[in-house]
Symmetry: C2
């Protein structure tokens, strides 16, 4: 563990040709404009957002009352943040002007005491903080703070950050341990990690104190009763929407199980990780490790999806991971990235960057269509449209992506993840340079006081061949640490063309410690066979089943390639798997072709004595999970197949 | 098809030693007294019924307002019906006095116009018929009519039937095709089949006209708008509670799919069968056949459970039969018996009596504990208590029977089924005597104008050996038709000890047509091996799985016998199965012992590449499904096992 282990400024990372450079081009040219139109109610046939209009109303430039969810402001905030990141990839003066105009509106909507929130502006800001459990005020504040920091860091423009500093100052005045202040916290964590970012950007550590305060008071009953996140008289309705749902049933230092609303949970845990990085309080680290182990070992889907139940959009119990009606919200997978990344910076164990990788290629990326304009809120692992569309207990599961949602937290969230992907690739700790993700890029870095350029070229995740080259003014000694992916069993390192096996393997990282000089090259080859993966048998849904993976990618079968009634299919784990190319919506991917079996049992009366199995050999095709649902609507899809 | 194919009066059937005689003893000595106590709020730790108290209030012998569901009266009615049947098995003067006193109360609660209903009496009977969709007035009336007929037929006492005749006359005056009458029908079918029973008992066919009217108007829009079952302004809330839920989305003659609320559906279909038996209208028979085929081929659980979804307690779509969260209500299985029995009397095809058999030994009988005092509303095919108890989408599934329910339709319903079991065994059509069910009994019969006694001795369903003997004054020619159970592939008939294979097999019945004389005997041996049963592969839940059956019984595995994590178990369809004896709560049953496999996969991180299968051979025990949940609480149970 290292106090000074830090990430790399997004602006120092230049994406090179590859999947993520392509997704960032889409972000700049399609996603950001599409989402801006939608936030301005200009997209047809989707739920109206009203989010920008709400700020116009709050700024008194338009008549009306704000519409949409109580946390609609956060959609604007996340869009600004995503748009800011897109400017790194693709400078765009018109977009910057648009953002500046939006910032002007937000500033104009700010009250003289610093308060910013379109919903409570209309309701009357004397009503502020009266429904902390569900009012989402501090949540919206947090997203606006994150947006302000992002825009400042990308453009140097600090107007929005100044607005948010004034707001943060108000929050600091009104919440805190002192008598007379509110002893309370938000039902939806977000403000905590946002205050950390704002403190780092502004240099004002009071915001970290406030964040720590919110985390420390969470779940702690207060003598005067104000500690309750719910305003007086508001009682939780059911066990799924109680303090456990809000992750407020116990103090953070007593938590040992990932629980409650999945997005709230992982945002909070990310905040706790920030707090631990500052305080180094051992109890917090114990908590974080217990929570992580519980997530990783008992409560996460193979895709990285979390939240096994729609009601409460939440974690349930260990090993409860139904493929067809989990919640597996796109935002929750994104939140896991936030948490995992912070864990990496605390403890450079590859399990955390493995988790980032799992999410960005599967559970998060599946949340957006290949054309960038359609979204999943819920990312199921199995759909059967006629049943999925009918059953009330699958009401939350869509079998095709849609252009927007009434509650549209996910689209702008996946946009900001795509735009910020460069910030999850590298980190520096003293003279150690970590490479966490294999994404074609150049990074301009300072390590041990010297500046140099590292270039990474690869077509990962389509193959495991990664080349690094170095440029620097003069030779210097440092360690290059390359994550050995958790899924990988065989690899080879070549330094300047010569095979090297003298390196150490530390916490899952290959440590190349030497005097480096300009034009040095490192080639890494991670063997990337198709893997037939099974689940722990305590997960009842996957007993006797297997999923296909290759590299970090989870694969799935679609009706489009394999016909209907996918439950009739079997795979042979001993079979051979061929790779092919599948281009969907101009995104090329490696697909997997293999011989499997179809076992059709057609009976007159549903049930009959078992006869000899009639299995016909069939050629099957699996595509990356993130690509599913991009070829026509409402077909069957399945990640887990029955296995011989 | 035969217009004069009729069942046999319950009083002519005497149960002999066996499972059903035992259950009827339990009915008389435990179930009826327990339910009476409970209906009178005298049972501890269960939801208070108030059902008898409500009649006391309506009779103005007590102050207060009725409590419980809007259809609480029907619990009293079904209890009277069950108690009446129990008097056939076990005459009981004290019980008769109790019923007579209850009848006095009901009569006293009757309004001068004939109206009887405790809820609307309190509300004001000018409010009657204002919420036909959900008010359940005609439903309660129907159950009281059935009770009155049963009590009259068993005891000859017609006071309650006279009360109900006055009520039926009121309904006849107020509903009907004529102008000025209400053109409407009840949201919950029941009155239809009840009016048929009342008409048969009273000899007044006007009640059949009224029943036909209710069925003919169902789903038919009326010009004046009164055809809607919902009172004005009441709109269905969701697609699960709309006119489709109430099986009122189309006229009965256009129905082709079993749909909507499962209990409502099968009660209606039973009424349609009554109507067809009277009218012989071909269109009704076409409808009944389409509905039956859809039920039998696409929408029923192996246990006979129906209703795949909790929301709406209803049928969903073809092949959607999840084992862990279906509704499979006890009442719905009982309703299938009503419908199937009437189908038998229309068309003596063994499929209908096979269905009666499936229900009485599985889906219905599992609804009551072996001690008679605990009940399932929902009869799942698979439970995993820690998950079942937690998940909101399994909120309706209990993993143990309970003493009563807030909505307690099932306990008294299963009681009346047990008490009336004797009426489902035999039927007579001209000179044909049908034996539909193999239950040890004596029946005193008229066939072709002559009286005789048929004695059936058997330990069925524990073995397939059934002996019949005849007593009669003088020899007579008639056909004895013995159902060849649908599950049975091998059988043997001996007449007076001599093997016979000259018989015809007609629609699944073995036809023994000859001159019979006293002391003639027939021995039938139905081979009863353990059957490994599979499902049509369009039912995704059961692909790769198998269930064990023997004779009519579905078997299940409990954690109690086989340890937890039942999903890890596999059975070998080629394996050998031994029979054993298992006595639970003094009910002896044949259990199945067999070698299976347990495949435990214990991983650190939920998912890992598949290694060679580690299967350990384990000795497993299956018990009849109806016996499950009678040995301690909240353990895992599973009908469908993975199959090699």
């Amino acid at each position: 563990m290292n106090n000074k282990h830090t990430g790399v400024d997004l602006k120092s990372v230049k994406l090179l040709a590859g999947l993520w450079e392509d997704r960032n081009r889409l972000l700049a040219h399609a996603i950001i404009p599409y989402q801006w139109d939608t936030l301005n109610n200009r997209t047809k046939d989707v739920p109206l957002s009203h989010a920008v209009e709400n700020f116009r109303i709050a700024a008194r430039e338009m008549e009306g009352v704000p519409e949409g969810t109580i946390f609609q402001d956060s959609d604007v905030a996340k869009w600004i943040e995503a748009a800011a990141y897109s400017l790194v990839f693709s400078p765009n003066e018109a977009l910057e002007n648009t953002i500046d105009e939006l910032v002007r509106l937000i500033e104009k909507s700010q009250h003289s005491n610093g308060y910013v929130n379109t919903y409570y502006t209309a309701k009357g800001i004397e009503q502020r903080w009266t429904d902390l459990a569900m009012g989402h005020e501090l949540y919206c504040a947090g997203h606006l703070m994150e947006a302000s920091v992002a825009y400042y860091q990308v453009t140097g423009k600090r107007k929005l950050m100044d607005v948010m500093i004034r707001y943060a100052d108000l929050i600091t005045e009104e919440f805190g341990v002192e008598e007379g202040k509110l002893h309370a916290y938000d039902g939806h964590p977000e403000i905590e990690l946002a205050l950390y970012r704002l403190a780092d950007a502004s240099g004002d550590d009071r915001y970290k104190d406030l964040a720590d305060y919110f985390m420390n008071i969470r779940g702690v009953p207060q003598k005067d009763g104000t500690g309750s996140i719910a305003k007086e008289g508001k009682k939780p309705k059911t066990r799924w929407l109680d303090s456990d749902y809000l992750i407020a049933d116990k103090p953070i230092r007593e938590m040992d199980t990932v629980t409650g609303h999945a997005v709230r949970a992982v945002y909070l845990y990310a905040g706790i990780a920030d707090q631990y990085r500052r305080t180094r309080e051992p109890e917090l680290w114990e908590t974080l490790k217990l929570l992580w182990d519980n997530l990783e070992q008992k409560r996460i889907y193979i895709t990285g999806g979390i939240g096994s139940q729609s009601h409460g959009e939440r974690f349930t119990v260990d090993y409860d991971l139904p493929p067809d009606r989990g919640y597996t919200e796109t935002c929750a997978s994104i939140g896991v990235v936030f948490w995992a990344w912070r864990m990496s910076l605390i403890d450079a164990d590859s399990r955390y960057a493995d988790m980032v990788e799992k999410e960005i290629y599967n559970g998060a990326l599946s949340g957006i269509s290949l054309d960038g304009k359609n979204y999943f809120y819920v990312n199921p692992l199995e759909t059967k449209p006629q049943i999925t569309a009918y059953r009330q207990d699958m009401e939350h599961v869509l079998t095709h992506r849609v252009g927007w949602f009434d509650c549209a937290c996910c689209p702008t969230n996946i946009a900001r993840l795509i735009g910020s992907i460069g910030s999850y690739l590298y980190s520096v700790s003293g003279t150690r340079l970590y490479v966490h993700q294999y994404i074609a890029s150049e990074v301009d870095l300072m390590v041990g006081g010297s500046r140099f350029l590292l270039r990474q070229t690869t077509t990962y995740p389509w193959d495991g061949d990664i080349r690094f080259s170095l440029e620097m003014a003069e030779p210097q000694r440092f360690s290059l640490l390359l994550r050995k992916p958790g899924w990988c069993d065989g690899w080879e390192i070549r330094i300047n063309g010569i095979k090297d096996d003298t390196y150490a393997l530390e916490e899952g990282y290959i440590v190349l410690d030497r005097m480096w000089t300009t034009s040095d090259t490192v080639a890494v080859l991670f063997e990337m066979p198709v893997r037939v993966v099974q689940a722990d048998s305590r997960v009842q849904a996957y007993c006797g089943k297997a999923a296909l993976m290759r590299g970090p990618l989870v694969y799935c079968l679609e009706e489009f390639d394999n016909g209907p009634e996918l439950q009739e299919l079997l795979l042979d784990p001993q079979g051979s798997f061929e790779l092919g190319k599948e281009t969907i919506q101009s995104v090329s991917a490696t697909c997997i072709l293999f011989d499997g079996y179809r076992e059709t049992i057609s009976l007159d009366s549903l049930y009959a004595p078992m006869k000899e199995r009639q299995r016909s050999k069939v050629r099957l095709k699996a595509i990356p999970y993130f690509q599913w649902g991009n070829r026509g609507k409402d077909e069957e899809m399945r990640v887990w197949l029955r296995s011989l």
